[in-house]
């Protein structure tokens, strides 16, 4: 059973086709990485899955309920505290006991001690954790993260992925986009490769390595990122 499914999704911006019939699905508790160069259509696909924009053709289904969306840049009110931000969105989500939801998210993000701090004073990593926690307030079956680790240092990144993996461990389907091929390989249980709006690959990280080696054997001895770039070139991107 899939938690979210996209079927032949097409999206155009004027003359340009940002997505060309992309199909894709993810099951409960899966951690899916969407990778690809700039302009590949990663953010467009996530925004269509999130319901922020609608496809020109094809469709999206999320049978198990709400889809949580965490934009690339933290969508937070920087002059409010951590707690005020969480409380506001819990209220807007219509929670019966918003205060309890806030406590739950503070526990989940490990930011209980910093609940009274103005968000602008938090590190990028902590802001991103609040950003994700707000995305989780709708209690989604599927959580979409648009390049969640951009701008974070390695320590912050490690803590973020630990947090995200814990979510997936609890059964939340997590789909994230990233430029970082090693991050996709390390944290993505499945990898979807997009380039110029086309879906080039959908499978595990190990399967992607094999595909890269077979299609770009001249780069097989080099690091995975270089081999991946060669693979894209072989596929005409």
């Amino acid at each position: 059973m899939s938690a979210v499914r996209a079927t032949d999704v097409v999206k155009r911006f004027g003359e340009r086709e940002a997505l060309r019939g992309v199909s894709f699905e993810a099951g409960p508790g899966e951690l899916v990485a969407i990778i690809g160069p700039n302009g590949a259509g990663k953010t467009t696909l996530l925004s269509i899955l999130a319901g922020i924009s609608s496809p020109d053709a094809g469709g999206v289904e999320a049978p198990d309920g709400a889809v949580g969306w965490v934009p690339q840049q933290a969508a937070l009110y920087r002059r409010l505290t951590v707690e005020e931000n969480l409380l506001l969105f819990a209220r807007l989500e219509g929670h019966e006991d918003p205060a309890a939801s806030v406590e739950e998210m503070l526990e989940l993000t490990g930011l209980r001690e910093r609940r009274g701090e103005i968000v602008a004073r938090l590190s990028g990593g902590n802001q991103q954790r609040i950003n994700i926690a707000i995305g989780l307030l709708s209690r989604p079956a599927v959580l979409l993260l648009d390049e969640p680790s951009v701008g974070l240092d390695p320590r912050q990144r490690a803590r973020l992925w630990e947090f995200v993996a814990a979510l997936a461990g609890r059964g939340t389907t997590v789909i994230f986009s990233t430029h970082d091929i090693q991050e996709a390989e390390r944290y993505g249980g499945r990898v979807l490769v997009l380039a110029d709006g086309e879906s080039l690959f959908d499978g595990s990280a190990e399967e992607l390595r094999r595909a890269v080696r077979s299609e770009a054997p001249e780069s097989a001895d080099r690091d995975f990122e270089t081999a991946f770039v060669a693979y894209l070139q072989h596929r005409g991107h």
Partner: protein, 452 residues
């Protein structure tokens, strides 16, 4: 509407977290109220003018050998300006050059003699001297206006006095009476009595002399009639053009009410437009807009929230300002209900305009600049009175200012403050139409709000 309530609370929290912004919102209306209040209650200061009177004491204006009563020209002048009495022209010159006085008025020693010569065969030209330091154009204009007006008034008083004396002499010639000269009282027969005597003696004369005497009697009679006509003519010479002011329209409120309404509307416009436009643009800058409109709040709901924020802030700030003004100018607190209606409706229309600007400009800095660039000139244009510019230009200004809520807001607040002025219904209707129009524009502009 629940979402709107929480967003409004959030915006007020953000406002509270921005001490500079919050302080400005409170301090600005208080400062404006105090400044306008002082300006209205104190009135303009009289300009300081040095006054040199070189005319010998006890010299009086003389008409036909008789001295006129004092015209009190000096007292009249010193009622209108602050006279700084100095002894001579040099002292006056020094005070003007140092900027201690705006100008100096010098009455030369021969002034009265020259005025007296006007009724002789060799009339002179009476002159006064004005010393001015025209260091800037505004000052020069002010001096010209004030001094010219004062001298015109002095001329008028002297002319009236001369006219009155002339009329008295004419009355003496026509009606007869006693004329005081060199301490002696001389009886004057008068044309009326002369004609009567001639008519009485005519029948006693020989018939051949009667036609000649009848001619003299006729002349005396005509002279009396014509001199009677001459008297009012002499009176009119002093002030040939009388002013009859007829107000044909445009009921104007008292000046202080107009000034308060302008200050209040200006404050309301800036606070509401900047706050609504800025806070809408902030939703985009904080990346919250797509998250909010993804099922949490509708785009229309977000607009309603921003306009409500404008109304709340506008009511608070403008009410605070009007209460501050009340310390200086008596405002009728019995009309406070109308104040609230006028401010709320004006704030709603201004808020909708602010939302349209915010949705169109999208970035906080651009929005602030745009809000100033739109509000300030519209406010100035709204204050241009008819007749101050050409008819075509005024029509264009009237059309332009009718498209922005500032002018109807000013009219509504003015009507709310002043019971004797025009009604509040028209401006409120105008504001309601503008509110709807700007709400539609803002809603359309929000469609491309989240895009880069």
């Amino acid at each position: 509407m629940g979402g709107v309530r929480w967003l409004l609370l959030k915006d007020l929290q953000i406002l509270r977290r921005s001490p500079l912004q919050a302080a400005l919102l409170v301090a600005y209306p208080i400062l404006i109220a105090v400044l306008v209040g002082f300006a209205i209650s104190r009135g303009p200061e009289d300009p300081r003018v040095a006054f040199v009177n070189e005319v010998p004491p006890n010299t009086r204006i003389n008409v036909g050998g008789a001295e006129l009563p004092k015209a009190n020209v000096k007292e009249q002048i010193c009622k209108r300006v602050e006279c700084v009495f100095v002894d001579n022209r040099d002292q006056a010159l020094e005070k003007v050059e140092s900027g201690d006085v705006l100008a100096a008025l010098v009455l030369p020693a021969d002034l009265v003699n020259k005025i007296n010569s006007l009724s002789t065969l060799t009339p002179g030209v009476p002159e006064v001297e004005i010393l001015v330091n025209e260091e800037n154009a505004l000052k020069a204009e002010l001096v010209d206006d004030r001094i010219t007006t004062l001298l015109a008034e002095a001329n008028l008083r002297i002319a009236r006095r001369i006219g009155k004396e002339g009329g008295r002499y004419l009355g003496l010639i026509v009606n007869g009476g006693r004329f005081e000269v060199l301490g002696e009282s001389i009886p004057i027969l008068g044309l009326q009595a002369s004609a009567r005597i001639l008519e009485t003696v005519t029948p006693a004369l020989p018939p051949r002399l009667r036609p000649s005497l009848e001619e003299v009697t006729e002349f005396a009679s005509q002279a009396r009639d014509n001199l009677d006509v001459a008297k009012p003519l002499i009176d009119r010479l002093a002030q040939p053009i009388a002013v009859d002011k007829v107000v044909v329209g445009g009921e104007s409120p008292p000046l202080e009410i107009f000034a308060i309404a302008v200050a209040a509307t200006l404050t309301l416009a800036f606070v509401v437009v900047l706050l609504v436009a800025g806070s809408l643009a902030l939703e985009r800058e904080e990346n919250a807009f797509p998250r909010l409109t993804r099922g949490l709040v509708s785009e229309s709901g977000l607009l309603v929230e921003k306009v409500l924020l404008g109304i709340v802030a506008g009511l608070l700030v403008t009410l605070l300002m009007l209460l501050g003004m009340k310390l200086f100018v008596p405002l009728d607190l019995g009309r406070v209900g109308l104040w609230l209606v006028a401010i709320a409706v004006a704030a709603a229309a201004l808020g909708a305009a602010g939302a349209a600007l915010g949705a169109a400009a999208r970035e906080v800095r651009a929005v602030s600049l745009l809000a100033f660039m739109v509000t300030l000139p519209i406010a100035f244009l709204s204050l241009v009175p008819s007749g101050a510019v050409g008819a075509g230009l005024f029509d264009a200004i009237r059309f332009l200012t009718a498209l922005f809520p500032f002018k109807p807001a000013l009219e509504a607040i003015q009507a709310a403050l002043d019971a004797s002025g025009p009604g509040i219904g028209g401006p409120l209707l105008h504001l309601a139409v503008l509110f709807l129009a700007y709400a539609v524009i803002a809603r359309l502009a929000l469609r491309r709000f989240a895009t880069v």
